[in-house]
């Protein structure tokens, strides 16, 4: 097949105060017409920079294209003057971005923004009709009305649909999609992926899909290329790639993804981090993290070798015997999830409600309530992990904060070791806080940038009066670092000198510093790359076993739940819809929402026969979650539920007992006659 776009030896360097960062260092890639290519890589691998370089949209003047060619047909885009590039951008190559929230101009109507890409010579009416056609094509209902609306009037998923409409309106030959679903919830992600596949089929355009998610890549791609530290390390057809990845890095990535079937074992961990791109590499860039490294890897850069369409950049496949099919990996150690029977509940939450008043901008008149949490009952036993699962905006983070009394609950009870935490004065609460700690999502925002690591670790001890003597605190801080797998030399440094994964270890050490019984983990791994996520998850599990900690693990990632949790509670719009032991809920979900969540999770479908992408997933919920300001009457989920009945619109379902530990709130199941 003739290549539509041919990238050849592309190098993009950034000049920073610290030196030159070789963000893209010799990338070659072909995309055929109508083909969908996934460019896979972790953060900092240079995948987005490469995409921006195609369209010469690099931030100026820091970024410069040092070498390479990008051939679109006969034309080298890197040598095309800015004037002529305008005819390429949007019309031949269109692009959609990760953040639909910020990628649309907030002060222009959708209609105006999309029309901009249509020829100015067209009469207004024709352009309008065209825009409405595309709005309709991307599944935006009532396109005439949306045409006049502004981005803020649309939900996140709708904004991304509008972005796609804008990109497609130029009828490009190639669509570059830069992590288009990363900022979206799983159910919305599934919708957008389906939409992209459908549109690609209809228009016959090619797609360069940039992602960090193996599963997403397996859903959309015909071919996959893996980027690591500025270069492509492996590239193959979808089936060959997911059937047998060759590069040690790719293999490790596959084994680092948590999920079913990995409960019993520690996750594969890629030690260390991505090397600094300020250096000139002599050997293989992955050498420092590779299990198979030998001398050659450190001295000679591995060449790109292709065998029956499967390319790889690794010395393992350079032997005279040709390419060995696959390298056996050592199995990670088996660490069984300890079978702990039902235990004394450590934390009990009864009918917790958190409502945030909405004030009018002046005079603070209350004009409404955001029902962030609207009656949540749960309990966490000693040494156990309860996963609280839900999409963004469902109130799961607020539950965590209300338990910690960081926001005041509106109603309900929070009992910790039998003591009511709500209604306590701040000073009475203070000594209890050492039993109940928290780890937040963003490791960059949760460490004070002005404090040394030692100060961060000792702050809690100081506040709680543990080890009053400075020397005692110091040695404890050292012990804590060791416990989370870091060296004592970190103590006298600032957080910004460390990577995200290391910072998250500091956060865990800080929580441990006051010897808590329960740690509320609020999406502690969702800001991290897969390989680092595995490190943190393994650490959390090890600590639980060593210290018999309990976790309330708040997450949207069902893979993580399967790996770590004992019990699961599924939350939708401020309320729990289903709770139970992990295998009950994940293997036999009863609530349509739980079923939809599970269906929406993209899975790595490697063993499927054939070469085509996975067909659109069925049974997805319609639309997006309504606002918690005006939750729908009856069952909150009825507006999106494919199985909604008349009763669902009027009555909120009572809990139904499926088993001793499994409860669901749905009218599909006869309510318990005696909900005791």
């Amino acid at each position: 097949m003739p290549a539509l776009l041919k990238i050849d030896g592309l190098k993009v360097w950034f000049d920073t105060a610290g030196g030159t960062v070789r963000a893209v260092d010799g990338v070659s890639l072909d995309i055929a017409a109508g083909e969908s290519m996934a460019l896979l890589g972790e953060s900092g691998s240079g995948k987005s920079v490469a995409a921006m370089a195609l369209l010469q949209l690099l931030p100026q003047p820091a970024g410069r294209i040092v070498a390479g060619r990008v051939l679109l047909g006969e034309r080298d885009l890197l040598r095309t003057p800015e004037r002529d590039m305008r005819a390429v951008r949007g019309r031949r190559i269109a692009m959609i971005f990760q953040e639909p929230q910020t990628s649309l101009n907030p002060v222009m109507t959708l209609g105006d923004q999309i029309s901009e890409i249509l020829p100015a010579s067209w009469p207004r009416r024709r352009r309008r009709e065209r825009v409405i056609y595309w709005l309709d094509a991307v599944g935006i209902s009532d396109p005439e009305r949306r045409y006049r609306e502004y981005p803020h009037q649309l939900s996140g998923g709708m904004k991304q649909r509008a972005m796609i409409a804008m990109a497609l309106a130029g009828e490009p030959e190639l669509l570059v999609a830069d992590e288009p679903t990363t900022a979206l919830d799983v159910t919305i992600q599934a919708q957008i992926l389906d939409l992209l596949k459908e549109l690609q089929r209809r228009t016959g355009m090619a797609m360069l899909f940039i992602t960090h998610d193996l599963a997403v890549a397996s859903q959309v791609a015909d071919r996959v290329a893996v980027m690591y530290a500025g270069e492509i390390v492996e590239s193959a057809d979808r089936s060959a790639f997911f059937g047998g990845a060759r590069h040690p890095y790719t293999q490790k990535l596959f084994r680092a993804v948590p999920g079913r079937g990995k409960r019993g074992e520690m996750l594969e961990v890629i030690p260390g981090g991505v090397p600094s791109l300020m250096q000139e590499f002599r050997g293989c860039r992955f050498a420092d993290r590779c299990d198979y490294v030998w001398d050659l890897c450190r001295t000679t850069m591995p060449a790109w070798r292709v065998d029956s369409g499967h390319g790889v950049r690794c010395h393992l496949y350079g032997g005279a015997a040709g390419i060995s099919t696959s390298v056996a990996a050592p199995r990670p150690a088996e660490v069984p999830v300890r079978a702990i029977g039902p235990s004394q509940p450590l934390l009990q939450v009864r009918d917790l409600k958190v409502h945030f008043p909405i004030h009018s901008s002046i005079l603070r008149r209350v004009v409404g309530q955001v029902r962030a949490v609207d009656g949540v009952t749960l309990s966490v036993g000693t040494g156990r992990t309860l996963a609280l699962v839900g999409e963004s905006g469902c109130g799961k983070t607020t539950v965590g904060k209300a338990i910690l009394q960081l926001v005041a609950p509106t109603a309900g009870e929070v009992l910790f070791e039998g003591t009511r935490l709500d209604r306590m004065t701040p000073s009475a609460l203070r000594p209890l806080r050492r039993r109940l700690q928290v780890v937040f999502q963003d490791p960059y925002a949760s460490l004070d940038p002005r404090m040394l690591v030692s100060e961060i670790l000792e702050e809690g001890m100081h506040a709680q009066g543990i080890d009053v003597a400075a020397a005692g605190r110091h040695s404890r801080a050292r012990d804590l670092l060791e416990q989370v797998g870091l060296g004592a030399e970190a103590l006298n440094r600032y957080p910004h000198e460390f990577s995200g994964g290391q910072r998250q270890r500091f956060c865990i050490a800080r929580a441990l510093s006051v010897e808590p019984r329960l740690i509320i983990c609020d999406e502690p791994t969702s800001a991290l790359d897969v390989s680092v996520q595995a490190q943190i998850l393994n650490l959390l599990r090890r600590l639980q076993q060593e210290l018999s900690l309990s976790y309330l693990f708040i997450t949207h990632n069902l893979g993580v739940v399967e790996y770590l949790a004992h019990e699961v509670a599924v939350m939708y719009l401020g309320r729990l819809v289903e709770t139970g032991v992990v295998h009950e809920v994940l293997e036999g979900p009863r609530h349509p929402y739980t079923q939809a969540l599970l269906a929406a999770v993209p899975s790595i479908a490697g063993n499927r026969a054939g070469n085509g992408p996975v067909p659109p997933s069925a049974g997805l919920p319609r639309g997006e979650a309504p606002s918690p300001v005006n939750p729908p009457a009856g069952c909150h989920y009825h507006s999106r539920c494919p199985q909604a009945m008349a009763q669902c619109r009027t009555d909120y379902p009572a809990p139904t007992r499926i088993s001793a530990t499994h409860w669901v709130r749905c009218h599909l199941y006869p309510a318990d006659p005696d909900p005791s």
Binding site: T16, A17, P59, A62, K401, L404, L406, L429, R430, P431, R433, R434, L436, Q437, V438, F440, Q441, D442, A445, S446, L447, D448, P449, R450, M451, E459, G460, H462, A463, Q464, Y494, H496, C507, R510, A511, S513, V514
Partner: protein, 471 residues
Amino acid sequence: MVMPFKPVILWTDALIYLLLAVSIAYGIYAARHEHLRAPWRQVRRNPLAMAALIVLAAYILTGLADSIHFRMRLNGPQTGVQGPIYSPQVLSALDLLCAPLRTHVEQTYSAPFALYAFTPQMVRLPDGSHVLEYPRLRYGGAGLKVPGDRARDITVRCLRAGAESLLLWAAIVGAVVAWCVRQPPESLRSALTRLARGETDTPWRAMLASLGAVILFIAAVANLGGAYHILGTDQVGQDVLFEAIKSIRTGLLIGTLTTLVMLPFALAMGVMAGYFGGWVDDLVQYIYTTLSSIPSVLLIVAGVLSLDLYMANHAAAYDNIAQRQDVRLLSLCVILGVTSWTGLCRLLRGETMKLRNMDYIQAAVALGVRSRRIMTRHIIPNVMHIVLIYVVLNFSGLVLAEAVLSYVGVGVDPSMNSWGNMINGARLEMARDPVVWWSLAAAFLFMFTLVLAANLFADAVRDAFDPRMRK
């Protein structure tokens, strides 16, 4: 043992010493904390900012020398008084350094480098008749035997000034080069080349150039100032150059003390309003909305006007000129501070509200850290960059404001040396023909140099400290 002088510490002097101590303490603190050292390092690499800093340093040293006050002992007969008598006149170290400039007072206006007065005077001839003529100045060019020698004399003095400053400058350049050669060790040749090309990490070339200019200026004043009035004299015959130099302290004080006075309020109220919210926030917001709703000029006017009335009614308490000037200056700083804290307070409140919801603050609350400690250990260090940027950006605005206020009549004491008073006094003389331009020119030159240097330095500080400016 009787001291030849008696130290006098004016209120503003005390505050300047305090400010100096605070700055030194901040310097030590910043040197120990990487998050402060890194942005300052960025400032240090900026050639324009460092050149400006040299100029600022010259101004600051002048201002400091003018802030060491004392009264000289009188050597007259001591009748009926035990112990020494001290002159009622308060002098400063700068006054002593510039003694020739201070004491060479003419009758009235004279042009720069003039030998004769600017305005003709009736002179009574020996025969009793009166003639209108331009009298010879008492000090300006007094050393000349023949008036025609003036050009030659000035040239000689200029050359000498040039030679002296070149010598001193060369010595400093030598010291810098020696320093560069030593660490890290490199050859003299390469050190010189790098210096000359401006490739050193610390921008020595720019700093030395600006230092050279400062030295040349000082040498010129030292060589010419005693013999001529370089910038002429004003209506009462004062040397204009001396006035302009004396005004440096006033300008610096207005620019810095105002901030010093208002900083504690702005910081405490802004942080507390942002952290606690609720009624504290309502109260602080009410206060600053009220204050900022009054046009600041009018608030200053109202404040100064009542101060004037008060001082006029209690004239007895302010008989000493230096003290009166001082109280007036300090009050002006306080009043300016009252009008200018609202902006900073609003900024700090907003930033604190943002920080309050940051995860690391939430984590500290979850650890049981007390509110006061959270504010002092987490919030204040994280808003200090805003304070610093505000202070340096505000400085030049305040220096400019002084001139306007003094012109309007609500600035510093009319008898005090300040650029505003100089402009105010010279403005009326613009109508004369030929124009008396030198007072204006002097005020313009000194003010412009200070404000430009401050602006350039402030820009560099903002670029280094404002997180939005970073990539």
